[in-house]
Symmetry: C2
Subunit: 323 residues, 2 copies
DNA sequence: CTGAAAGCGCTTACAG
DNA sequence: CTGAAAGCGCTTACAG
């Protein structure tokens, strides 16, 4: 099962066997190479990951530590990183921390059992996540993505949440909305903190904030039932995740409210979910490709900077009739 | 950065330093232990994953290779495995193969760069995936989950798809449906093959099958628009994924069809998505916990058997008024 | 072109 | 209780 066995069967030294398998060093007698490959097939040999990584001091893998892949936005991030790394002969391993600090701490603490060159992390908590992140940094290149933890020494790539919120609120104001309900979740995440703060700064006396348990469609339906309970309180809704917005949209419609006539709905993220509802969902498209590019550049280039990317407002029928 | 440095700073041998850090072997002079821990903190030392794994011949990690985490069912699987392993001091690393054989082959081929003890794989293709799976088996304990590939030598844990389809069809028939449209995707997956085959065996002259591109809500909305185009063709829909069913349900309602009065909708999976729509979605609840338990038992026990689990029909308002 | 040797960083019998 | 030594499986200068 080891290279030594293969070499023995092929009648060569481990050095030669290694050269053949690595594909490096073209200068190997074709006949010997053939024997090595034959021996591999016979023995069902596969190189040992740990030994190889120990020797090379590198792996081709990157970890992405996300709070919850059930959130469509993180799904999109996973897909984008996975695709990009795959194209470059590397791979992504995703680790879910279930939006809990305890699990995040455990998972980051155990990164020394996972073979990766770098760690991309979406911190669960805007304060408490710092310790675990600083810990992983001892061993790994780390980049904070989408969210940050105060006191964490890792570079970051994130959205300009304040600018995004401003785009959404101004868009709704332009269309006459004066009673906007912000529906948020995971209030301990830095993005929530930033968004809620930006919203309050722009809010008028009739605007309000509602906190839900999680970024999920069911949070959306639950928020909608509260909204329906005091019908008329809100003439617009902003969700901090489009997966929530989809739930809100369909549930409000079922409750008999006309969208956007009676209630306008808009959200952050702008994943492909914005297409599935009727009407389409006005959202803030996150430049996922730019985020992926910037964070991988930090990892590969070793430059430790903080990058802020701009969202773009995409107007659809959920806020403006016929869009 | 290595244990040798730590030992040097603490004024002990690497052996002693290792004993202190591993926590094993309580018989270490408390004073030496203190010095070792101090040195660790000072130097920011963290154990090297590759070296440790090479020495111990084991890691505490398990890989789950899924076709697409955008499918809510796989999200649920990820969450369940992750939670269970986390509780046992192990961890899950998830790898997405994007429902393509090429990516799956690359990812499985590169499992020798990822540090895991075992690989749980949901094969993309019911035939072509076998080669890559047999390859990984050289190095790893492998279990096929949810789908299988013909010719793959790995044990498997899966749903009784034929029984599930029978439950759904009979339920719809009992409620008078005679024109059932089966909406499927990923027809090269073993689960699709089994489900479509079971459906055809039960199908009458007015039942039909529609194949979509992917398991996503947008596939559902697209399928719905086709259904609406020839209104009256179907009086019931079975989706092979509930994420698709949610798309179908909301889009059909927007198209003016009453559910379940004019069209009944039911699906496989039974994830938490079944709650978010109105009416609730009748579905075949997959026993995710049983799947997780069975597959981890195979991994841990080393027993190589094929396990088939039974789905349970959960009736909601999408097929029977008021359920 | 090929092989013997060193070494990646760790852990654990083994001897003291 | 502690340390010197061996070895996990691989790769790559180095010498030939």
């Amino acid at each position: 099962m080891s290279l030594k066995h293969v070499a023995a069967v092929a009648g060569v030294s481990p050095s030669t066997a290694s050269r053949v398998l690595a594909g490096v060093d073209r200068n190997v007698d074709p006949e010997l190479a053939r024997r090595v490959r034959l021996a591999c097939d016979e023995l069902g040999y596969r190189v040992n990951a740990a030994a190889r990584a120990l020797r090379l001091q590198s792996t081709g893998s990157v970890a992405l530590v996300v709070p919850a892949i059930a959130n469509a936005y993180f799904c999109e991030l996973v897909a984008a990183y996975s695709h990009r790394l795959d194209a470059g002969g590397r791979r992504l391993v995703t680790i879910d921390t279930n939006e809990t600090l305890a699990s995040e701490t455990r998972q980051l603490g155990a990164m020394d059992r996972v073979l990766v060159d770098a760690v991309l992390v979406v911190p669960v908590d805007h304060r408490e996540s710092a310790a675990a992140i600083n810990d992983v940094m001892r061993n790994h290149t780390v980049v904070q993505v989408d969210r940050v933890a105060a006191g964490a020494g890792a570079p970051s790539v994130r959205l300009d949440n304040a600018a995004g919120m401003k785009l959404l609120v101004e868009h709704l104001r332009e269309h006459g909305r004066r009673r906007i309900a912000l529906i948020d979740a995971q209030e301990r995440s830095s993005s929530s903190v930033e968004r809620v703060e930006a919203f309050r700064a722009l809010a008028g006396p009739h605007d309000s904030v509602m906190q839900m348990a999680s970024f999920s469609m069911s949070s959306g339906t639950e928020a909608a039932s509260r909204l329906l309970a005091d019908r008329g309180t809100a003439d617009a809704v902003i969700c901090t995740a489009d997966v929530v917005a989809i739930g809100v949209l369909t549930a409000l419609q079922h409750g008999g409210l006309r969208v956007p006539a009676e209630v306008a709905i808009a959200s952050f993220d702008g994943t492909s979910l914005t297409d599935v509802a009727t009407p389409g969902l006005t959202s803030l498209r996150s430049p996922v490709d730019a985020i992926v590019t910037a964070s991988l550049e930090i990892i590969d280039g070793g430059t430790a900077c903080d990058v802020v990317v701009d969202p773009a407002l995409v107007v659809r029928g959920s806020t403006v009739v016929g869009s």
